[in-house]
Structure formats: C-alpha cells, structure tokens
C-alpha cells in the first residue's frame, strides 16, 4: 500500500516538474519572438534583392549591401529614400520608423524590385 502511494507521489512530482518546465520553455520562446533584430540586411546579387520581401519591427535599420558585379541603387517608390549608386561591396542603410509596406527598386535596372514590411 505505502509503496503505491510513493510511486503515485513520484509520478505526480514528475508531471508537475514537466509542466513547470514546459511553461518555462513557452515563456522563453515568447521572449525570443519578441526580441526582433535591430539591424536587418538585404543582399543585392544577380540583379535581385534578397530577401525580396523583408518583415521588420518599426525602428529597425535595414542595410542593403551590393554583392553583384554591377552597380545598383536602392530607391523608394514613394521617394522616402534613395541611395547613391552602390558599386560592388558598397552599402546603404535606412531606418524605418513607421509601420507600413515600403516598395523600392533599383533606379538603374527598374525591373529589380523589393519591399520592406514594417510592423
């Protein structure tokens, strides 16, 4: 009789411990999701922006870096920002303060388009 009670107690203890662990793990994941990067990067290569669509939190600075062997620019469709011409390995940064969807393109090769979604 006593033995089964001890086993039961042990089982309950394990369950409680597991529950506590799971709760702690969920809290940890939630905190990780809230911790958005303050800096984000877009690589320009092969006549395209990568990623073509980037989602960030308001206040994030996006840096475009040209890895192509031909110059490109980064120009906002709404004339919010426009980089100087970027040769290979040159960068341009812009901080997105307000939420919204911001389309941009390369003014040298206008078929190259991308967007930044600010939440």
């Amino acid at each position: 009789m006593r033995r089964s009670v001890r086993i039961l107690g042990l089982a309950v203890g394990v369950v409680v411990a597991l529950a506590a662990f799971a709760a702690g793990a969920r809290a940890f994941t939630a905190r990780a999701q809230q911790a958005q990067p303050v800096n984000a990067e877009v690589k320009i290569d092969n006549f395209s922006f990568g990623p073509a669509s980037l989602t960030i939190a308001a206040g994030t600075t996006v840096t475009w870096i040209n890895r192509d062997d031909i110059p490109h620019t980064v120009a906002s469709e709404d004339k919010l920002f426009k980089s100087r011409v970027l040769d290979t390995d040159e960068k341009f940064s812009f901080t997105f303060a307000k939420p919204g969807t911001f389309g941009y393109f390369c003014s040298l090769h206008p078929k190259m388009t991308g967007k930044v979604v600010v939440q």
């Binding site: 092969n46 062997d69 110059p71 620019t73 393109f105 206008p110």
Partner: protein, 322 residues
Amino acid sequence: MAKKVNDELLHDHNNDGIDRRGFLKCMAWAGTGALCVMQGGVLKSYSLSRMSDLGAAAATTGELSFVQISDSHMGFNKPANPDVAGTLKAAVDKINALSTPPQFLLHTGDISHLSKPEEFDNVDQILKGTGKEVYFVPGEHDVLNDDGAQFRERYAKGSKGAGWYSFDQKGVHFIGLVNVMNLKAGGLGTLGHEQLEWLEDDVKHLKHSTPIVVFAHIPLWSVYPEWGWGTEDSAQALAYLKKFGSVTVLNGHIHQIMQKVEGNVTFHTAASTAFPQPQPGKADSPGPMKVPAEQLRGILGITDVNYVRGQHALAVVDSSLA
C-alpha cells in the same frame, strides 16, 4: 576563315525590296563578325574577319558616313573586362582604319560606369584619337547621383529637357533621345510626355523624303521586357516618324548586335566596347558575361553607317574589335 559569300535578293514578298529570309539568315551570322550591307533595300551579306577584307568597300561608301559606338562603361574593372580603356582604344584604332573615314561619331550611352568625372574625362581623351566630333546620348550609368546634370554640362549644352536634341548632316536629320531618366519601379525605358511633344514638333515640317536617324540608349523596340530591354512609350515616338520613307533607329544598352526591320524603320543595337551581355533569356540576369580572354575582342565592336542619296535605307555595317 574569311570566306566571301554573295547573297542577293531572292524573295521580295512585301515588295519593299527586303528579303526577310535572307536578312534573318544574315543576322544569325552577325554575332560571329559577319557583314550585312543593306543599300536601297537590297541585302548583300559577306562573312569576314577584318573590315579590310571587304572587297565591297566601294559599295558601302556614300555621301555620309558615321560610326556608332556604345557602352564604353569607363570605370568598369571586373573579370568580364579588366581593361575597358584598352578595348575603347582598340575601337578608336578600328575607326581610324576604316576605308571610308566617318564624318563624326554617335555614342549611344553608358559612356561611364559610375558617372564619375574622371571616367567621362578618360573617354573624351581616348575618343580625341579619332579627331572627329562625337554626339552623345546618356545611358542610365551616366545620370547617377545628379539627375544627369554632369552629362548635360559635358555633352548636351543647349539641349532640351533631360538632354534631347536634333541636328542635320548632308540632308539627314539626326535625333538624340533620352530614355533613361525617371525610370519607374518594374518599368522599362521611358521618353516622357515633354520629350514626345518636342519630337512631334521637331519633325513636323520635314519633307517625307528626309532620311531620319534616331539614336537613344535603351532599345526603342521590345527586345526583352523581362530584362528591361525596351521603351514603354516608344510607339508614340515611332508614330510621329511614320510618314518618313527611311528611318534608322540606333540603340545600345544590351551589349550585343540585334536588328529588326519593320516597314520603313530599321532598328539596330550596337555591341559594347567594354563587355558583352547574354542573349535574351540565356542567363539568369543581363549582367556582364565572361568569355575566354582571347574571344573578348571578337564580341566587342563598332558600327559603321553609310548613306547614299536616293537610296531607301542606310547601310549599317558591324565589325568586331578582333
């Protein structure tokens, strides 16, 4: 290697003196340094490795001769061509060796690679070697950071708007157009309302028999829209030129030779003097194309154009730097 092949007009279905099947066959050779001469609508084709081998030199002379060069990209220094100054100098040597010296040059843009003053200076210095006047239109690489202010100051003083202008030589009317400004996201080249209005007015009072030569950087016909190789409002421009018996459109931008004939209009794009680009759709993107070093000069080139009074079309002849 330098075989001479004479193909005369065989099929004239449209009664316009142009054998399209023969023309297309000739165009397939053009990339390997062939010579297609069109005079009075009659097509003659020759395969050659050097301009001087062309026994029909006399057939290509006329009352007006000029050369088109394009896409010198001074300042470019990547593997596709680490010495664009050297290949531009080779183009100058080629020009100076022509049996009929040109009266002037047309440069259809992307003079510089990054719109830097020293890049423009360098091109000017090298082209002085021809001793000829050069008429320029800008490419998208020439109007960076300053909306084309530097380009206009150097090459288009007294022009209108973004730098368009016209002039006459030996009875031929030349029109330099700018289609690389105010490009929109996802768009093609664009001429814009103001320039189109100017063009309509510029040609309004010309006789229909006046030969017209239009030169602009991005092709004025739809070569490959996926890569931006076209001009969205060129149809309107061509409508203003419909009445003329001979219209030649000279473009650059795509770094390869392509031709198209549509009624009275001959469209021609020039090779670059700097680096080649892939044929439409043959690569992921239209960037500089690397070829074995010994093949490079065979793919770069100049275009020689001759006008004979009374003939319907101008003779357009491409030759490589090799």
